[in-house]
């Protein structure tokens, strides 16, 4: 239901009513209402929905999630290469190399 995206607080206008700041979304800067996170500081990350910062993003939690994912899938071999199979069924024209798929180009369409 809710398209909310993470962004970094780059400035806060404390005189604005309602409280307003500029959020950077990967090179795109847009104003957002900060009234619901009044003690926010520049440099923190927030999720923004329809021009409102709704919640802080917690870096430690994010890191913990990713570390957990890294430890999963140890049974991979036993269950065969489902990944490649899926990619082939999905019609990847070029044989998919799971290792190269790991590269982050940062420019994919999504």
């Amino acid at each position: 239901m809710c398209l909310a995206v993470p962004g970094k607080v780059v400035s806060i206008d404390h005189r604005a009513d309602p409280l307003t700041g500029v959020i950077d979304f990967g090179g795109v800067q847009k104003q957002a209402c900060l009234e619901y996170l009044p003690d926010l500081r520049v440099g923190e990350y927030v999720i923004v929905h329809v021009g409102f910062a709704l919640q802080r993003l917690d870096e430690a939690s994010a890191r913990a999630s990713l570390e957990l994912f890294e430890q999963l899938g140890l049974l991979e071999e036993e269950f065969g290469d489902a990944w490649r199979q899926a990619a082939e069924q999905a019609g990847d024209a070029v044989p998919h190399n799971p290792e190269s798929a790991h590269d982050k180009s940062g420019s994919e369409a999504r």
Binding site: Y45, S61, S65, E70, L72, E78, A101
Partner: protein
């Protein structure tokens, strides 16, 4: 972009998929409540990567899809008035009312504007003191605080030319309604992460306990969705039914207290109709007494508008996971993305629209359709959406 790229990593997605595959031993039906999650699932093709035991049912979490026909008809009536500037989120403009949509009202001279934020509508009200500015306040708990702030500011500033046409809905009563439906197939929920960013998770343990159903608060990037699925499947396989938070970076148990206070001040819980589903008790919000003067339904006296949903559209059953879109007789025949009967066919993440595209791609029924007889009957029917002769497409563009 930090917090997005890491959670799109195909390498880690594979690990999550392998783990789900290793955990699952029998079929499970999970519902992702939120339309944003459905969008992400379709966008990344996640449903096709899951083991076949795991079925995802697309829930009623697209605010555009569940806004009742009657409210849309009221919006169209108000938007067509000459003294009104009618502001809406973009995805609402194409949703059909009884005989037209907001695009058509705009084409016929109505001043309909797409805004990014309700505060943009408020700004228009300040800049146009001689005109009535109405904002179409739809959405779930995530959007409600933004709309609440807009009307709160209007009241503080004495902006009498600003009002809201409210059609806010809440997730927990919808979960309750789905779980108590007689033919309910849902065995686990992926709860909407951003709703919980605002509301916290306090409303869910009671639901999980009473219906003995796992509820996993889930985010929106591919890894978030896979993690939500992984945890739900893990619980189901062990016979558990707890509330888990698989989106801890953006969800705290207490939600956002400042936003909750504002919601408390501006709105009060009310019964709401959901398009295609019907009336669900206490499933939405309306403006509280103090804000009643800012309610566009009162200001423009549209209470006389009463609309019934079209009987043939079975979007409600689709939204509740009771049938697959292909089991509706209108699917792909009278109802296509081009001529939608129901909102699930309107937006690209609507369950019916997603099925429609998928079926066209394969030249046949999508996987998992369980009504072969009805389906083969429908395949002979012409699909209206594909009738444009190739050679006449566009030489003028």
């Amino acid at each position: 972009m930090k917090y997005i790229d890491e959670f799109n990593d195909p390498h880690l997605a594979r690990r999550l998929l392998d783990e789900i595959r290793a955990t699952v031993t029998r079929p499970w039906a999970l519902m992702e409540v939120c339309g944003g999650q459905t969008h992400s699932i379709i966008r990344h093709g996640i449903d096709q990567l899951l083991p076949e035991e795991v079925e995802l049912i697309h829930g009623p979490g697209c605010p555009v899809c569940v806004t009742p026909l009657e409210v849309i008809d009221k919006a169209l009536d108000i938007a067509a008035r000459p003294d009104v500037i009618f502001c809406s989120f973009g995805d609402m403009l194409r949703v059909p009312g009884t005989d037209r949509d907001l695009f058509r009202v705009k084409g016929e001279g109505g001043d309909v504007r797409v805004v990014y934020s309700p505060l943009d509508a408020l700004r228009l009200a300040r800049e146009n003191p001689g005109r009535q500015v109405v904002f179409f306040a739809i959405g779930f708990e995530t959007t409600a605080p933004a709309n609440a702030m807009a009307v709160h500011q209007a009241r503080r500033l004495g902006l009498d030319n600003f009002s809201l046409l409210v059609s806010h809905v809440r997730v927990p009563p919808a979960v309750e309604a789905i779980m108590t439906a007689p033919a309910c197939r849902v065995q686990g929920f992926l709860a909407a992460g951003h709703v919980c960013s605002v509301m916290g998770t306090a409303e869910y343990p009671e639901l999980a306990e009473r219906h003995r159903v796992p509820i996993v608060v889930t985010g929106f990037e591919p890894l978030d969705i896979l993690e939500g699925i992984r945890r739900a499947v893990h619980q189901l396989e062990r016979g558990e039914h707890r509330v888990e938070n698989a989106y801890p970076r953006a969800v705290r148990e207490a939600g956002n207290p400042a936003a909750l206070r504002m919601l408390e001040e501006v709105f009060e819980v009310a019964d709401r109709s959901w398009r295609g589903i019907g009336r669900i008790p206490a499933s939405g919000w309306r403006l509280s007494d103090a804000y009643r003067p800012y309610d566009a339904e009162h200001r423009f006296d549209v209470s006389g508008i009463r609309t019934e949903e079209p009987a043939v559209c079975r979007a409600g059953e689709v939204l509740q996971g009771l049938i697959k879109p292909t089991e509706c007789a209108a699917f792909g025949t009278t109802c296509t993305p081009r001529t939608p009967l129901g909102a699930t066919m309107v937006s690209s993440e609507g369950a019916c629209a997603a099925y429609y595209l998928y079926r066209r791609m394969n030249g046949q029924a999508p996987q998992g359709v369980s009504a072969p007889q009805g389906d083969s009957a429908r395949q002979g029917a012409p699909a209206r959406g594909s009738r444009i002769p190739q050679e006449e497409m566009n030489s003028i563009g």
